[in-house]
Protein backbone atom coordinates (compact mmCIF):
# COMPACT_ATOMS: atom_id res chain seq x y z
CA UNK A 1 0.00 0.00 0.00
CA UNK A 2 2.83 2.39 -0.67
CA UNK A 3 1.19 4.34 -3.45
CA UNK A 4 2.80 7.67 -3.87
CA UNK A 5 1.20 10.50 -1.99
CA UNK A 6 2.33 12.95 -4.61
CA UNK A 7 -0.31 15.07 -6.16
CA UNK A 8 0.15 14.85 -9.87
CA UNK A 9 -3.30 15.70 -11.13
CA UNK A 10 -6.04 17.91 -9.77
CA UNK A 11 -8.23 14.86 -9.53
CA UNK A 12 -5.73 13.38 -7.10
CA UNK A 13 -7.15 15.83 -4.60
CA UNK A 14 -10.26 13.68 -4.55
CA UNK A 15 -8.41 11.10 -2.56
CA UNK A 16 -8.86 12.06 1.07
CA UNK A 17 -5.54 10.64 2.11
CA UNK A 18 -3.70 12.70 -0.48
CA UNK A 19 -5.74 15.69 0.56
CA UNK A 20 -4.70 15.22 4.17
CA UNK A 21 -1.09 15.06 3.11
CA UNK A 22 -1.51 18.25 1.11
CA UNK A 23 -3.08 20.00 4.08
CA UNK A 24 -0.26 18.91 6.34
CA UNK A 25 2.27 20.40 3.92
CA UNK A 26 0.37 23.56 3.14
CA UNK A 27 -1.02 24.72 6.44
CA UNK A 28 2.22 25.71 8.17
CA UNK A 29 3.08 28.00 5.26
CA UNK A 30 -0.41 29.45 5.07
CA UNK A 31 -0.47 30.06 8.78
CA UNK A 32 2.91 31.76 8.71
CA UNK A 33 2.00 34.04 5.82
CA UNK A 34 -1.34 34.82 7.46
CA UNK A 35 0.36 35.83 10.69
CA UNK A 36 2.81 38.00 8.78
CA UNK A 37 0.06 39.69 6.82
CA UNK A 38 -1.89 40.37 9.98
CA UNK A 39 1.15 41.90 11.60
CA UNK A 40 1.71 44.19 8.63
CA UNK A 41 -1.99 44.90 8.25
CA UNK A 42 -2.54 45.78 11.87
CA UNK A 43 0.47 48.06 11.81
CA UNK A 44 -0.84 49.80 8.72
CA UNK A 45 -4.35 50.00 10.16
CA UNK A 46 -3.22 51.94 13.16
CA UNK A 47 -0.53 54.11 11.68
CA UNK A 48 -2.23 55.46 8.58
CA UNK A 49 -4.18 58.66 8.77
CA UNK A 50 -7.70 58.94 10.00
CA UNK A 51 -10.40 60.05 7.65
CA UNK A 52 -11.28 63.74 7.32
CA UNK A 53 -14.95 63.12 8.01
CA UNK A 54 -14.99 59.92 9.98
CA UNK A 55 -11.91 60.37 12.09
CA UNK A 56 -10.44 57.27 13.54
CA UNK A 57 -13.53 55.13 13.15
CA UNK A 58 -12.47 54.55 9.58
CA UNK A 59 -10.04 52.05 11.06
CA UNK A 60 -13.01 49.84 11.81
CA UNK A 61 -13.35 49.50 8.07
CA UNK A 62 -10.16 47.47 8.04
CA UNK A 63 -11.90 44.71 9.98
CA UNK A 64 -15.47 45.23 8.92
CA UNK A 65 -15.03 45.15 5.15
CA UNK A 66 -12.79 42.05 5.06
CA UNK A 67 -15.21 40.25 7.37
CA UNK A 68 -18.10 41.11 5.07
CA UNK A 69 -16.19 40.10 1.95
CA UNK A 70 -15.30 36.82 3.61
CA UNK A 71 -18.89 36.19 4.63
CA UNK A 72 -19.88 36.36 0.98
CA UNK A 73 -16.82 34.58 -0.34
CA UNK A 74 -17.35 31.72 2.08
CA UNK A 75 -20.91 31.27 0.88
CA UNK A 76 -19.71 31.35 -2.71
CA UNK A 77 -17.16 28.65 -1.92
CA UNK A 78 -19.92 26.64 -0.28
CA UNK A 79 -22.05 27.07 -3.38
CA UNK A 80 -19.23 25.82 -5.60
CA UNK A 81 -18.74 22.88 -3.25
CA UNK A 82 -22.47 22.26 -3.36
CA UNK A 83 -22.28 21.99 -7.14
CA UNK A 84 -19.43 19.53 -6.65
CA UNK A 85 -21.63 17.49 -4.34
CA UNK A 86 -24.66 17.41 -6.58
CA UNK A 87 -23.07 17.12 -9.99
CA UNK A 88 -19.96 15.05 -9.36
CA UNK A 89 -20.71 13.44 -5.97
CA UNK A 90 -17.19 14.53 -5.08
CA UNK A 91 -16.50 13.33 -1.51
CA UNK A 92 -14.35 16.30 -0.63
CA UNK A 93 -17.06 18.68 -1.81
CA UNK A 94 -19.33 17.34 0.94
CA UNK A 95 -16.63 17.91 3.51
CA UNK A 96 -15.87 21.36 2.11
CA UNK A 97 -19.28 22.94 2.51
CA UNK A 98 -19.95 21.30 5.82
CA UNK A 99 -16.68 22.56 7.26
CA UNK A 100 -17.12 26.05 5.83
CA UNK A 101 -20.53 26.76 7.38
CA UNK A 102 -19.40 27.61 10.93
CA UNK A 103 -16.57 29.75 9.54
CA UNK A 104 -18.99 31.67 7.35
CA UNK A 105 -21.36 32.18 10.25
CA UNK A 106 -18.53 33.52 12.40
CA UNK A 107 -17.36 36.01 9.79
CA UNK A 108 -20.90 37.17 9.07
CA UNK A 109 -21.43 37.75 12.77
CA UNK A 110 -18.16 39.65 12.90
CA UNK A 111 -19.26 41.81 9.98
CA UNK A 112 -22.56 42.56 11.68
CA UNK A 113 -20.96 43.40 15.03
CA UNK A 114 -18.20 45.58 13.61
CA UNK A 115 -20.76 47.21 11.36
CA UNK A 116 -22.85 48.11 14.40
CA UNK A 117 -19.79 49.45 16.18
CA UNK A 118 -19.06 51.60 13.16
CA UNK A 119 -22.65 52.65 12.70
CA UNK A 120 -23.16 53.90 16.24
CA UNK A 121 -20.67 56.76 16.06
CA UNK A 122 -21.30 57.42 12.37
CA UNK A 123 -25.04 57.09 11.91
CA UNK A 124 -26.05 57.42 15.55
CA UNK A 125 -27.66 54.00 15.69
CA UNK A 126 -26.47 50.45 16.33
CA UNK A 127 -28.83 49.03 13.77
CA UNK A 128 -31.58 49.93 11.35
CA UNK A 129 -34.08 47.48 9.97
CA UNK A 130 -34.95 49.58 6.93
CA UNK A 131 -31.59 49.07 5.25
CA UNK A 132 -31.38 46.49 2.48
CA UNK A 133 -27.77 45.57 3.01
CA UNK A 134 -28.04 45.12 6.76
CA UNK A 135 -31.16 43.02 6.33
CA UNK A 136 -29.73 40.83 3.59
CA UNK A 137 -26.51 40.20 5.55
CA UNK A 138 -28.62 39.30 8.56
CA UNK A 139 -30.53 36.88 6.35
CA UNK A 140 -27.19 35.43 5.24
CA UNK A 141 -26.33 34.86 8.90
CA UNK A 142 -29.63 33.05 9.44
CA UNK A 143 -28.94 30.90 6.41
CA UNK A 144 -25.56 29.86 7.77
CA UNK A 145 -27.18 28.92 11.08
CA UNK A 146 -29.86 26.95 9.28
CA UNK A 147 -27.26 25.04 7.31
CA UNK A 148 -25.32 24.22 10.47
CA UNK A 149 -28.55 22.98 12.06
CA UNK A 150 -29.36 20.90 9.00
CA UNK A 151 -25.95 19.27 8.94
CA UNK A 152 -26.35 18.30 12.56
CA UNK A 153 -29.88 17.02 12.12
CA UNK A 154 -29.22 14.40 9.47
CA UNK A 155 -27.12 11.45 10.53
CA UNK A 156 -26.08 10.04 7.20
CA UNK A 157 -23.25 12.37 6.09
CA UNK A 158 -23.66 11.97 2.35
CA UNK A 159 -27.41 12.51 2.49
CA UNK A 160 -26.93 15.53 4.71
CA UNK A 161 -24.38 16.89 2.24
CA UNK A 162 -26.64 16.48 -0.77
CA UNK A 163 -29.65 18.01 0.89
CA UNK A 164 -27.60 20.88 2.33
CA UNK A 165 -26.16 21.43 -1.13
CA UNK A 166 -29.63 22.03 -2.56
CA UNK A 167 -30.38 24.52 0.17
CA UNK A 168 -27.06 26.31 -0.33
CA UNK A 169 -27.76 26.73 -4.03
CA UNK A 170 -31.31 27.97 -3.50
CA UNK A 171 -30.05 30.46 -0.94
CA UNK A 172 -27.37 31.75 -3.27
CA UNK A 173 -29.84 34.32 -4.61
CA UNK A 174 -29.02 36.30 -1.49
CA UNK A 175 -25.42 36.96 -2.51
CA UNK A 176 -26.09 39.21 -5.52
CA UNK A 177 -28.77 40.91 -3.44
CA UNK A 178 -26.23 41.72 -0.74
CA UNK A 179 -23.74 42.95 -3.28
CA UNK A 180 -26.12 45.16 -5.21
CA UNK A 181 -28.43 46.18 -2.38
CA UNK A 182 -26.61 49.47 -1.90
CA UNK A 183 -27.01 50.27 -5.59
CA UNK A 184 -30.63 49.23 -5.99
CA UNK A 185 -32.04 50.81 -2.85
CA UNK A 186 -31.58 53.98 -0.89
CA UNK A 187 -29.62 52.62 1.99
CA UNK A 188 -28.01 54.03 5.09
CA UNK A 189 -25.02 51.86 4.29
CA UNK A 190 -22.62 53.54 1.93
CA UNK A 191 -22.24 52.53 -1.66
CA UNK A 192 -19.48 50.33 -3.01
CA UNK A 193 -16.19 52.13 -3.22
CA UNK A 194 -13.77 49.31 -3.93
CA UNK A 195 -15.24 46.61 -6.12
CA UNK A 196 -16.79 48.71 -8.83
CA UNK A 197 -16.77 48.56 -12.61
CA UNK A 198 -15.08 51.95 -12.79
CA UNK A 199 -12.43 51.02 -10.30
CA UNK A 200 -12.07 51.98 -6.69
CA UNK A 201 -13.07 55.44 -5.57
CA UNK A 202 -11.43 55.02 -2.22
CA UNK A 203 -8.23 56.89 -1.52
CA UNK A 204 -5.09 54.74 -1.85
CA UNK A 205 -4.15 55.80 1.67
CA UNK A 206 -7.08 53.74 2.90
CA UNK A 207 -7.04 51.16 0.15
CA UNK A 208 -3.62 49.79 1.04
CA UNK A 209 -4.31 48.75 4.63
CA UNK A 210 -7.71 47.50 3.55
CA UNK A 211 -6.27 45.21 0.92
CA UNK A 212 -3.57 43.91 3.24
CA UNK A 213 -6.11 43.10 5.95
CA UNK A 214 -8.44 41.57 3.38
CA UNK A 215 -5.67 39.33 2.14
CA UNK A 216 -4.74 38.39 5.69
CA UNK A 217 -8.32 37.47 6.53
CA UNK A 218 -8.70 35.52 3.30
CA UNK A 219 -5.63 33.43 3.99
CA UNK A 220 -6.85 32.95 7.55
CA UNK A 221 -10.08 31.62 6.14
CA UNK A 222 -8.34 29.21 3.81
CA UNK A 223 -6.09 27.96 6.59
CA UNK A 224 -9.05 27.39 8.90
CA UNK A 225 -11.10 25.86 6.11
CA UNK A 226 -8.42 23.33 5.22
CA UNK A 227 -7.95 22.42 8.86
CA UNK A 228 -11.69 22.13 9.41
CA UNK A 229 -11.97 19.91 6.35
CA UNK A 230 -9.25 17.73 7.74
CA UNK A 231 -11.09 17.50 11.06
CA UNK A 232 -14.27 16.57 9.26
CA UNK A 233 -12.49 13.80 7.37
CA UNK A 234 -11.10 12.52 10.66
CA UNK A 235 -14.58 12.65 12.16
CA UNK A 236 -15.92 10.52 9.32
CA UNK A 237 -13.10 8.04 9.73
CA UNK A 238 -13.84 7.73 13.42
CA UNK A 239 -17.51 7.02 12.86
CA UNK A 240 -16.72 4.58 10.06
CA UNK A 241 -14.32 2.77 12.37
CA UNK A 242 -16.90 2.65 15.11
CA UNK A 243 -19.54 1.23 12.82
CA UNK A 244 -17.09 -1.34 11.56
CA UNK A 245 -16.11 -2.36 15.06
CA UNK A 246 -19.74 -2.64 16.08
CA UNK A 247 -20.36 -4.87 13.11
CA UNK A 248 -17.41 -7.07 13.96
CA UNK A 249 -18.42 -7.22 17.59
CA UNK A 250 -21.92 -8.34 16.68
CA UNK A 251 -20.52 -10.92 14.29
CA UNK A 252 -18.25 -12.09 17.04
CA UNK A 253 -21.20 -12.52 19.37
CA UNK A 254 -23.16 -14.37 16.77
CA UNK A 255 -20.32 -16.74 15.95
Amino acid sequence: MTESLAITKLSDLANPTRFMALVARLVPWLAAITALLFAVGLYMSFTTEGDYQQGDTVRIMYVHVPAAWLAMMCYTIMALSAIGTLVWRHPLADVSHKAAAPLGAAFTLLALITGSLWGKPMWGTWWTWGDARLTSVFILFLMYLGLIALNRAIDDPSRAARVAAVLILVGFVNIPIIKFSVEWWNTLHQKSSVLRLDGPTIDPEFLRPLLVMALAFTLLFFTLHLLAMRNEILRRRVSAQRRMSARIASRGDAA
Partner: protein
Protein backbone atom coordinates in the same frame (compact mmCIF):
# COMPACT_ATOMS: atom_id res chain seq x y z
CA UNK B 1 -8.63 59.01 19.70
CA UNK B 2 -12.16 60.25 19.76
CA UNK B 3 -14.03 57.02 19.20
CA UNK B 4 -11.47 54.80 20.83
CA UNK B 5 -14.05 52.55 22.43
CA UNK B 6 -15.65 51.61 19.12
CA UNK B 7 -12.40 51.04 17.30
CA UNK B 8 -10.82 48.96 20.02
CA UNK B 9 -13.97 46.94 20.61
CA UNK B 10 -14.15 46.16 16.90
CA UNK B 11 -10.61 44.93 16.76
CA UNK B 12 -11.11 43.18 20.07
CA UNK B 13 -14.15 41.29 18.84
CA UNK B 14 -12.31 40.40 15.65
CA UNK B 15 -9.37 39.14 17.63
CA UNK B 16 -11.50 37.12 20.03
CA UNK B 17 -13.46 35.60 17.17
CA UNK B 18 -10.29 34.69 15.31
CA UNK B 19 -8.83 33.09 18.41
CA UNK B 20 -12.05 31.17 19.05
CA UNK B 21 -12.06 29.83 15.50
CA UNK B 22 -8.44 28.77 15.72
CA UNK B 23 -9.08 27.17 19.11
CA UNK B 24 -12.15 25.34 17.82
CA UNK B 25 -10.32 23.93 14.82
CA UNK B 26 -7.33 22.91 16.87
CA UNK B 27 -9.26 21.33 19.75
CA UNK B 28 -11.62 19.54 17.41
CA UNK B 29 -8.65 18.11 15.53
CA UNK B 30 -7.04 16.97 18.73
CA UNK B 31 -10.21 15.25 19.92
CA UNK B 32 -10.60 13.40 16.59
CA UNK B 33 -7.01 12.27 16.60
CA UNK B 34 -7.42 11.05 20.15
CA UNK B 35 -10.50 9.06 19.19
CA UNK B 36 -8.69 7.52 16.24
CA UNK B 37 -5.74 6.67 18.45
CA UNK B 38 -8.03 4.99 20.96
CA UNK B 39 -9.70 2.97 18.25
CA UNK B 40 -6.37 1.93 16.80
CA UNK B 41 -5.11 0.99 20.25
CA UNK B 42 -8.04 -1.34 20.74
CA UNK B 43 -6.97 -3.27 17.73
CA UNK B 44 -8.71 -1.88 14.71
CA UNK B 45 -6.67 -0.86 11.76
CA UNK B 46 -7.61 1.09 8.68
CA UNK B 47 -7.59 -1.01 5.58
CA UNK B 48 -4.97 1.08 3.87
CA UNK B 49 -2.58 1.07 6.80
CA UNK B 50 -2.17 -2.67 6.88
CA UNK B 51 1.53 -3.34 6.22
CA UNK B 52 1.39 -6.64 4.33
CA UNK B 53 -1.14 -9.38 3.63
CA UNK B 54 -1.53 -11.51 6.74
CA UNK B 55 -3.24 -14.79 7.24
CA UNK B 56 -6.95 -14.13 7.53
CA UNK B 57 -7.98 -13.76 11.11
CA UNK B 58 -11.66 -13.10 11.69
CA UNK B 59 -11.56 -12.25 15.32
CA UNK B 60 -8.34 -10.29 15.26
CA UNK B 61 -10.17 -7.04 14.81
CA UNK B 62 -9.19 -6.41 11.23
CA UNK B 63 -11.44 -4.00 9.50
CA UNK B 64 -11.79 -6.05 6.38
CA UNK B 65 -15.39 -7.18 6.48
Amino acid sequence: MKYAFYVFTSYGVAGVMTLCLIAWVWLDGRARRQELAELEASGFRRRSSRPAPETPDDMGGETKA
